[in-house]
């Protein structure tokens, strides 16, 4: 399978936040969920892909091309949807479209008209007059109308009503029916990924926790439920996070066989959902 996006050793340093040596790969014809709590570094990665911020180290290749050395060619193939879009807010939609369309050789005006009608976009209205959902729809219409091969969506479902959220997710699944196309989709709403994503890249506090096919995440990560001995001594290293409950302790692990070897009997092991992983990782320091 060809690679749509490959990131190696990506690093970005800010005062008070460091994105540390992120590496992952997105295959063509797939959807990747870029997951992590707020402030994990998801938007930083997306901005680095679009060269909106400078990287401190590492490489980003889009369809085999370095995103800075071949910036123009790379961006021509990327469609971008942002939670808080960088738009000239007081311009009408039709003006924004007229301003942006000439930059794309593959711009399909008929497709844009069709999508605008489908989404019910009021093209005469100013961007700032639109609801959050409509703003997302407009950005999506722009991204799809230039036949982007890689859709990069930063928290696209955040703040959307359930109806449009489902519509958007279905549309994303539809996009990758064309196997040349891929989607990188950042979110902290984990339920969006269960039905849509093929692979998950999990970021926490600027660090890569894992980047795996979704099925492998289910097989690898588990929530172990047991007594308070789970938080003691040598066992600690087996767990990524703990949670005290009225009935004992729950812990997150990516190494179930090792946990079973260390503790014989008295354990309940459940497959971890992405939400479980996020909750445990976020409270990883709350050891018992």
């Amino acid at each position: 399978m060809d690679t749509a996006l490959e990131i190696q050793g990506l690093r970005k340093e800010y005062k008070g936040f460091i994105l540390k040596d992120i590496s992952f790969r997105l295959d063509q014809g797939t959807i990747m969920g870029l997951v992590g709590p707020n402030g994990a570094g998801k938007t930083t990665i997306i901005k680095l892909i679009l060269n909106m911020i400078r990287r401190s180290a590492g490489t980003i290749e889009v369809f085999g091309l370095d995103n800075i050395a071949h910036e123009k060619a790379v961006k021509a193939r990327i469609g971008f949807v942002h939670e808080t879009p960088a738009m000239v807010e007081d311009a009408p939609l039709k003006n924004i479209k007229t301003a942006l369309a000439p930059f794309y050789r593959s711009w399909d005006e008929r497709l844009f008209r069709r999508l605008s009608a489908e989404f019910g976009l009021p093209l005469d209205k100013k961007f700032k007059a639109l609801s959050h959902g409509m703003k997302m729809k407009f950005q999506l219409a722009l991204a799809l109308s230039h036949d982007a091969d890689l859709l990069v969506l930063d928290e696209p479902t955040s703040g959307l009503d359930p109806v449009f959220r489902r519509e958007l997710l279905e549309r994303l699944s539809g996009v990758i029916q064309d196997e040349r196309k891929s989607v990188l989709f950042s979110t902290h709403i984990t339920s969006d990924l269960e039905s849509t994503a093929d692979s998950i890249t999990f970021i926490n506090r600027g660090e890569l926790v894992f980047s795996l096919p979704k099925d492998e995440v289910r097989e690898t990560w588990a929530v172990v439920k047991g007594g308070r001995e789970l938080g003691h001594g040598s066992l600690r290293g087996l767990f990524k996070g703990f949670r005290e409950t009225p009935y004992g302790v729950e812990a997150l692990t990516s190494d179930v066989p090792a946990v079973r070897r260390a503790i014989r009997g008295g354990l309940v092991v459940d497959k971890a959902s992405i939400e479980d992983i996020m909750i445990f990782m976020d409270s990883g320091a709350s050891h018992v």
């Binding site: 910036e71 311009a91 930059f103």
Partner: protein, 221 residues
Amino acid sequence: MFKFILKDFFLHKKYILSLGILYPLYVGWFGSRLDSPRVYALLAAFMYMIVALFPYTREDKLKAVGLSLSLPATRREIILGRFLTSWTLMTGLWILGTAVALLMSGGKLGAAHLLGLGSILTILAYMTAFLAVFTPLAIRFGMVGLMIFLVAMQVLGIVAMLLRARTQTLKALIGSVGRGVATAQEALGPAGAVAAVLIVFLIVNYASFELSVFLFKRKDY
């Protein structure tokens, strides 16, 4: 490159059209009351530069620079687009403003003053200087930085005026620059002098462009 001009026009259409009418009318009317072509050129160039920088300062204010950065264009091309838009706007406004000044009844500056080679070179010099200074400043410090710079320049102007009363250094400096230019003009002849001045304008524009690209490439959005 035309698409960059088009982009700025469509994204800021209302403002460009309204200021593009208001400013030349004001400059034309006010300019017709002036009797110094140099002061007219200074006023016009400054006003037109404000409009020329408007797309950038608005995008900075609206935090919309990211829109340009998400387009298939390099940062260098984006800055080149900025310069082209700025010069297109300034030239267009200058033509309009001059027409208004000529049409105003009772104007003190006639066609000979407004359309003379000296006047054209003077206004080009001011436009070049303003754009060369303000574009990199706007990129590095945004609209707020630009305002601070303008206020600082006003303070500096007041200080210079106060110092002028005490020392002749500034006056002597300006005088020596003027004499140097006059000597060069004599040596080069009329056509050579014009060519030299235009080359200087190009060099200043180019230097400002390269500085702007340098600053833009190092900024996170």
